[in-house]
Symmetry: C2
Subunit: 396 residues, 2 copies
């Protein structure tokens, strides 16, 4: 077993689409698990999801299925479902966001494989559908996102709930499989997208704050809640995010800007102590107003090394990341020759074991491993697979 | 071993603060692991982080450390560090976002415990600091978040990178521990917040799009990229998010709104086919304009059941979640008697094993388990712990 691939030996059958469930499977595949994504003949509903490459192929699908194997079968036919059930029985682990078809429910599968680990993603726990955008609308974040003077909700661009949910699925599946390693018992795991978002809002204190505190949290624009942090314009027409979380950060910011006298006078005038995070937050507009001219008089380059321990970064857009070397110079990124799309820089796993960065592996072509997987897991001969193909049970 | 707590038997020493690393530990604690957070005497830098309860205690700290045990020690003294090293040696797993102090580096600890699993969170991989807000600024998302007519970056409110990073830490730690269960070998795991964000941008196709496509993705306001989705105002002064991802969703939206003739005429006039997601996205302003009056003439309540398979949800704020029963009625949430804060509804784990929702468990009081843990893990008598306390090596 290779130290750099800690999940070698783990095998997962994935029946999934869109972001969360495929990301959960890919996260395991990137750590060495054999993850076999099974799709309906012709592909799932996410096969053509935007963004598209110039070739017309989905960059989204390719990005979320890297390093998996792909099998296609007719899940609408009893023979296709029997085949998938046999694969799951052999592999012993299934990851899915699909409504269970006949023969593929947890109870059906557990009868064939008593120690099955079955991980299922739901929208709402009661089975009602939900997606990242609807969950996000339901849970309050759009009401506190966006410019302070904006009226109405502001959606996030990042599908953060899908990402969190995919990672929770990977955590849960590994926890269940560990339990099986130790006790021999499998089990059913369910995760609802809505629950993941609600749990996160609770874990971060948003829900308790709404229950216990008289004043609701306002929409803060680019200000950071509870301390001093905001964006500033610089002399070269750029913007930087600047953030203070400790007294050391604050002292360094005051020293760097040469505004110690002004800050001391302000503290006397306001009866404030800017070594306290609460006072930095309360007087954020004042502090920002005092600091703005200092940033406006400096270029981003001149800030480099000038701010001590202060947390700061320049805002960049995705095009700039390609131009400025962020992608090229990152050890996370590797050149990936993705069939149907062409070479580009793609991320390997952000989990680095023993200092070894694993490179990105291409996503499969749809159905690419059908023959290989049926041969390997079910000992089917090429003749048997060819017969199933002629019957329309498995794909090209 | 209880089926509902799959990680029973796993023990983790956590040296951490803020969001990502504590969330990683809490995720394991919620699944039955014994997670012991060790803090400097008096608490870490996150002990008073906002939001605060009316009592002045941090809801953030309480929310992110539920179900752990708490030990305090003087990490600045050799005796305190020796104690923590002894705890880690016994437990065999450490999770940290702290810079390693003398005696607590990976190499130091591995000498004492050759099969150690050591999981460390970094800002940047090269050791430079980074936090959610600076990583977010660096990576392009603020440039495409917010109202279409807004100029300048818009930060997210949710610290999405911290959340993702905490979950990646939990995944990586479980993967490393599985590897140890199977092979007997421990290892060092590192995860950088910046890498997690960059990997996510890559996995979702944003980076490949910027490299391969001529047109950069625009700021889309509340529109969904690549299909038809946006927010609408309703007759009762509310807003709803409405989203179409499949032809079935589209057909149901057209049928519900009674606009089939208009849509067919539009398709002829524009040479478009709204069964295609690309055409729905291209003509999103037109489609939104046509559908707006229909939504504006209806209350949110009247939409319930009227939209068929269409994905939609009403926007709510955190205060409304408390009022409208979302928290009270959710099986995820349970009444938590949190010392120092008082009873409130808090989330249990969103990972549900065997259909059993585990309830939330309170966060510890700072240092609450010092005596208990030193007795249990290091077989120290109360007299010995009292002596260490008198010497200022461990906390109250």
């Amino acid at each position: 077993m290779n130290d750099a691939a800690p999940l070698a030996g783990l095998r997962v059958i994935e029946l999934s689409s869109y972001i969360a469930s495929p990301l959960g499977g890919m996260t395991l595949a990137q750590l060495g698990a054999d993850v076999i994504r099974v799709d309906q003949l012709g592909g799932g509903p996410d096969l053509g999801r935007w963004p598209l490459a110039p070739s017309g192929r989905s960059l989204y699908w390719a990005g979320l299925n890297k390093g998996k194997r792909s099998v296609t079968a007719d899940l609408r036919s009893p023979a296709g479902r029997e085949l998938v059930a046999a694969l799951i029985t052999t592999a012993g682990i299934v990851l899915t966001n699909a409504a269970p078809r006949p023969g593929l429910t947890y109870d059906d599968l557990r009868e064939r494989r008593p120690d099955l680990v079955y991980a299922r993603l739901l929208g709402h726990r009661d089975g009602r559908t939900a997606v990242d955008y609807t969950v996000n609308a339901s849970l309050g974040f759009p009401a506190i996102t966006g410019p302070e003077d904006h009226d109405g909700p502001v959606n996030h661009a990042l599908p953060a709930w899908d990402v969190a949910c995919g990672l929770y699925l990977a955590v849960g599946l590994l926890a269940a499989e560990r339990h099986r390693l130790v006790t021999g018992h499998g089990q059913r795991l369910e995760v609802a997208l809505h629950d993941v978002a609600l749990a996160t809002a609770g874990n971060l204190g948003y829900l308790a704050e709404a229950q216990l505190c008289a004043t609701p949290r306002p929409r803060l624009g680019n200000h950071v809640f509870g301390d001093f942090g905001r964006d500033f314009a610089t002399a070269d027409g750029r913007r930087v995010m600047v953030l203070v979380l400790t007294t050391r950060h604050w002292r360094d910011l005051v020293a760097a800007s040469g505004l110690a006298e002004v800050m001391a006078a302000l503290e006397r005038a306001l009866g404030a102590d800017f070594l306290r995070e609460a006072d930095r937050y309360t007087y954020r507009e004042t502090l920002g107003g005092v600091l703005s001219p200092w940033f406006a008089g400096r270029t981003v380059a001149s800030l480099d090394g000038a701010l001590g321990s202060v947390l700061w970064a320049e805002y960049r857009d995705f095009g700039e990341l390609v131009q400025d070397g962020t992608l090229r110079d990152s050890p996370l990124m590797g050149e990936l020759a993705q069939p149907g799309i062409g070479p580009h820089l793609a991320p390997g796993p952000p989990l680095v074991f023993g200092g070894h960065q694993l490179p990105p592996r291409p996503a499969p072509e749809l159905g690419q491993h059908t023959d290989e997987v049926l041969g390997e897991l079910l000992s089917m001969s090429t003749t048997e697979v060819a017969r199933l193909r002629a019957q329309g049970v498995v794909g090209e």
